[in-house]
Amino acid sequence: MAEKSQPSANYRTWPVILALAIVSLPLVLMYAYLFIDTVTDKQPAALMPDTLTLRHWTFLWQTPPGRPNIWLVTLNTLIFTASTTAVVLLVSSMAGYVLSRLNVPARGFFLAGVMVLHAFPSVTLIIAIFIVLQMVGLYNSLIGVILVKAAIDLPLGIWLMKGFYDSVPWEIEMAGVVDGASRFRVWRSLVLPQVRPAIMALALFSFLSSWGEFILPQVLAPGGQVQVLSVYLSGLIADDNNFDFGTFKAVGVFYVIPVLLLYGFFHKYLMNIYGGGSKG
């Protein structure tokens, strides 16, 4: 059936491929030049680069005046991303199990509430969150942004995990309970391994979304000591003096490579969220 995998075999496909290639050109062009421009130089009015150079990458070992050190910023980004992912995974794998299997009061209400929040534009709450963090003194700290970002990703996580727990057969839990394990033990040793694809998908989604998150760190932790890469890069773009695309693109490539690598390796898992789920 391999040759019949496309739905209609007797049509020519090359005009469609050509059309799609033309509309995809801006994206391909932008991405190609994103990488090319970081290691080459060209004349001001030329389209093609003429010399190879590494000077755009000097930001790795030289800190420009008035900017935080790139490695400090990278470390912040890693801490932010890893902590957010860990919190989202832990909290939503527990809550999802409860909503799928355990009998708690107000379960239906919680489930509906999570679904509403899942579709809810959390960015609209940022003004209140900003004022609250200032009041409780978590403004300009990584902990504050981590908690807020994790909470915002949580409804999707809970919803996704609940769906996967629903598909785990009851017999596995029954067997565990009959053998004398507690419900907690059953969850940890028997059920959790069954939903590994969901955990992978959620981990990847959470990693990508925290790694790229811009507006929360920008508003809640803009200070130099706690800056993350997105805020650092946006500071560079906003700097209209001495505008140099080569350097900015080098920082951009430095920032985007982990995303592309992870996505390249694990994209099949992520499709669980984007394809079957509903979050945009």
Binding site: I17, F110, I127, Y255
Partner: protein
């Protein structure tokens, strides 16, 4: 089952706490803040009462006799003044007698205070009397009081005669913190700027939604549907790039394309056009780029949903139609589109909400410019409350603007909940891969 119930409560507690703290509480607080006039100037915690010269000037028309009283000097014999007298190195008996006999007295003019000082047993010289009385010259002007009670107490102490209404009026006129008001909403309702922003928002959502999130996404899904697997995978990956790329880099690439040293300028330069900033040189171009930038991101989600829906259509329907001699257009018209009703409805509804609240891309690319041509509602709320050029951040007004979006969000999500519970029942095989 008792243990499972306890375990359930424990396991759901972290999620419940985080959602209450960072979702429900901000919703409630957004509503609360929207009824205040909080700005950078008033601060976010409670303010103080300060009878500053300019608040007195402002109050002059309203209650002239109160202002008149407040500008008169008062002479109050208090511990601080007596310490000052001790520091003057006069006869020690003067300070002692003032403390023992006159502490707490208030005189409404210098003459009365000096008459009392002259009558002291030690009888200071006229020059000393002036020095001593100067130590007790007290004015409420420019004093800060942390609460209304402190303010009233000191007004009473200095012997100002005011009615309770006058006191309240004075308190509200001299309060430096924020206060409750509904003015934010009347400003939103009446300002022509807001009408413009509302129009921008509707235009933005409609353009991106119709052109990219549904139409172009459908086109992508159908195109890749008719393609061999390898090519289809390549094109789908390319169109997913905008979604997985961090937004800051994604916008940087568009800037490179559109700026005066960027790709389009250089390319057009070959044909003799002067380089210019295509992103910001006029409102039409800015709109074009804003729609393109957001549309390229938005297209991917529609593409994924539509693609998986297309895969769920039984292949036999396509083969059968081919046998009957259907053209590709007829296949699209009579097989694909009728079966895509729910996915289209879902994407449209869902993306409406996402688009209404999204402003990252506009903020990073045009910042709402040129002028305020591409300022949309959520961006305007952000600019008002968190980042504006004037420097005085209007938290209250910004919260009121955000509240409008919050209310729209809640109404729409509840509506979706109704529609799509139904939809998942009806169209289950379409969404599933």
């Amino acid at each position: 089952m008792r243990s499972s119930r306890t375990l359930g409560l424990i396991m759901i507690a972290p999620a419940a706490i985080m959602i209450v703290l960072f979702f429900l509480m901000p919703v409630v607080l957004t509503a609360v803040f929207s009824f205040t006039n909080m700005t950078t100037a008033t601060g976010i915690s409670g303010g103080a009462y300060q009878i500053a010269p300019n608040s007195l000037i402002a109050l002059k028309d309203e209650m002239p006799e109160v202002v008149q009283q407040l500008t008169e000097p008062r002479y109050a014999i208090d511990e601080e003044g007596i310490k000052g007298v001790e520091g003057l190195a006069l006869e020690p008996g003067i300070a002692r007698e003032l403390r023992e006999k006159h502490l707490g007295e208030v005189f409404s003019s210098r003459r009365e205070a000096e008459r009392m000082i002259k009558d002291l047993t030690d009888r200071p010289s006229t020059r000393d009397v002036k020095q001593i009385s100067e130590q007790f010259n007290r004015s409420v002007a420019n004093l800060r009081f942390s609460s209304k009670e402190d303010l009233f107490a000191s007004l009473d102490k200095f012997g100002f005669k005011m009615t309770p209404e006058e006191k309240e009026g004075l308190a509200s006129a001299t309060y430096t913190g924020w206060s409750w008001t509904t003015e934010n909403f009347s400003r939103i309702a009446s300002s022509p700027d807001m009408a413009q922003i509302l129009f921008n928002t509707l235009l933005y959502v409609a353009l991106v939604l119709v052109l990219f999130n549904t139409c172009y996404a459908m086109l992508l899904a159908i195109w890749t549907h008719y393609m061999p697997n390898v090519q289809a995978t390549i094109f789908r990956s390319v169109w997913l790039l905008p979604r997985i790329t961090p937004v800051v880099i994604y916008v940087l690439m568009w800037k490179w394309l559109a700026w005066d040293t960027g790709f389009i300028s250089t390319f057009m330069g070959k044909f003799g056009y002067a380089p210019k900033n295509y992103l910001l040189d006029n409102a039409y171009n800015a709109w074009l780029f804003v729609v393109l930038i957001n549309g390229f991101i938005g297209a991917s989600m529609g593409m994924l949903v539509f693609s998986s829906a297309l895969k769920a259509i039984p292949k036999s329907q396509f083969f059968a139609s081919e046998v009957d001699g259907a053209s590709r257009w007829q296949q699209i018209r009579y097989i694909i589109l009728p079966q895509m009703r729910w996915p289209i409805l879902f994407v449209t509804c869902y993306q409406t909400l996402s688009l209404l609240a999204s402003f990252n891309e506009i903020l990073l690319s045009t910042r709402g410019g040129p002028g305020k041509a591409t300022e949309v509602w959520s961006l305007a709320a952000y600019h008002t409350a968190l980042n504006n050029y004037a420097g005085n951040l209007e938290y209250g007004l910004g919260a009121a603007m955000a509240l409008v979006l919050v209310i729209i969000g809640i109404i729409l999500s509840l509506a979706y909940l109704r529609v799509f519970n139904y939809a998942t029942l009806v169209a289950r095989p379409l969404i599933e891969d």
